[in-house]
């Protein structure tokens, strides 16, 4: 029986003296768990585990991407209108930050594989710092949205109309110069810009909620000719925006915690050429977080 198994596994047992060598290794390698034959065996098992976890993550985010796809295909004008409230500059900065952190994470794996302890620690710290950088930018963006009241659902009650936004003016010239693209953003059944301020709400609450905020100046603003009329339920865009970026942000936080744990282990010298698995798994998770942002950035910020 043992002979049979050995025949099937020539690469693991080139000498035939496998069993005893293995026992010796178990005794000497503190990083090899008892239920694994070799470090490679241990590494591969962990790697399969992390990949299966990543697959569940993709399916998890899939639900939100599905919500996005349905709402955008049904109401493209809402997305065109609402995306002017997002700042492409900060979105692009964050994309750069995450890509750079992916590089340092991949580099950390290389360092661990080659046993470069100092560089490993440096790259892990760099990854954590860039992750914090990402969250800081996200904080600036969220704070701005809370301030401007570009919030989900019926809480969408912006301080500024879309034609007042620099991003809109850059794309269309200053307000008053109507273009075909603006007409595209208009939902036909909506009334004047002043009135539709009230339609951003959930239907049952439409009359009650936005009136207070609407009274303090929205009526006073006169829409320039050619300015887009706010489509119904713009707040849903921000529901999707906050859900997608929020869930992604939670993953960034989880990534930071993971990297800090890896950093602690790296400082203890727990990683080396035969036992770098944890660094690799953390990096794989981190790359997935980057991967999701690579799609979120164009889907939310770069709507045309």
């Amino acid at each position: 029986m043992a002979q049979l198994v050995a025949d099937q596994l020539p690469q693991h047992d080139p000498s035939g003296g496998h069993g005893h060598a293995q026992d010796a290794e178990h005794a000497h390698n503190p990083f090899l768990a008892h239920h694994f034959d070799t470090p490679k065996h241990q590494f591969e098992a962990g790697k399969l585990g992390i990949w299966i976890f990543l697959i569940t993550e993709i399916l998890f985010f899939g639900g939100l991407f599905c919500a996005y796809a349905i709402y955008r295909s049904l109401h493209p004008q809402v997305f065109v209108y609402a995306h002017y409230y997002l700042d492409t500059f900060w979105g692009a900065v964050n994309t750069g930050v995450l890509i750079l952190s992916s590089l340092t994470a991949a580099w950390a794996v290389r360092n661990a594989q080659l046993g470069e302890q100092k560089k490993l620690v440096f790259n892990i710290i760099a990854t954590v710092c860039l992750a914090f950088c990402f969250l800081c930018v996200k904080y600036v963006e969220y704070a701005h949205k809370f301030h401007e009241q570009t919030l989900p659902g019926r809480y969408f009650n912006p301080e500024h109309e879309v034609w007042e936004l620099p991003s809109y003016q850059r794309a269309h010239g200053h307000a008053g110069h109507g273009s075909a693209a603006e007409a595209h953003a208009v939902e036909p059944q909506a009334g004047s810009a002043g009135e539709v301020a009230a339609t951003g709400a959930v239907p049952t609450a439409a009359s009650a909620v936005p009136t207070a905020a609407g009274a303090e100046g929205k009526e006073a603003k006169v829409a320039p000719p050619g300015a887009p009329v706010r489509p119904r339920n713009v707040g849903v865009f921000f529901s999707i925006y906050f859900c997608m970026t929020g869930l992604h942000g939670i993953h960034v936080v989880a990534g930071i915690i993971t990297w800090l744990w890896i950093l602690r282990r790296a400082l203890r010298g727990e990683f080396g050429p035969s036992h770098f698995g944890a660094v690799d798994y953390a990096a794989l998770y981190w790359h997935l977080v980057d991967l999701i942002w690579i799609y979120l950035f164009p889907l939310l910020y770069l709507i045309h």
């Binding site: 069993g19 065996h41 590494f43 399916l59 796809a69 790359h287 991967l291 690579i294 799609y295």
Partner: protein, 129 residues
């Protein structure tokens, strides 16, 4: 006991390990130049995707271009940073499998998307909006 586990987990991929010549290594070490090259390509593609938005190809085409660039970037990350290129093919298989199921999920749901749109429009008409 442990040898049995090995035969269950390890044997199908054994051919690949030998073919790739990484028999003695636990995993492939990505060269520095490749890491930097992939990073550079990702940064350039990010700039390209922002720049392309400024050009009007029509909403549909712009979306397709943006998604195509994002997919190229994702491909680079998965292939090189996540070393699927040197990894067991099984990991690529389950990864692509998850993408397949996500796209099935989204496309099947999109088929049904207009089901309630009529009654929603009716409701808004009644409310006079």
């Amino acid at each position: 006991m442990s040898t049995h586990q090995h035969s269950a987990n390890g044997s199908p991929e054994s051919g690949n390990e030998q073919r790739d010549g990484h028999h003695d290594e636990i995993a492939h070490v990505t060269p520095k130049k490749l890491l930097l090259g992939v990073w550079g390509a990702l940064m350039i593609l990010t700039i390209v995707t922002v720049a392309v938005t400024l050009i009007d190809f029509g909403a549909q085409t712009n979306l397709i271009i943006a998604m195509a660039i994002a997919t190229i970037k994702a491909g680079l990350v998965v292939t090189y940073f996540m070393h699927l290129r040197w990894d067991r093919p099984f990991h690529t298989l389950i990864f692509l499998g998850s993408l397949l199921f996500v796209s099935l999920f989204i496309s099947m749901t999109l088929l049904d998307k207009s089901e309630y749109e009529g009654s929603i429009e009716e409701m808004y008409l009644k409310k006079g909006q």
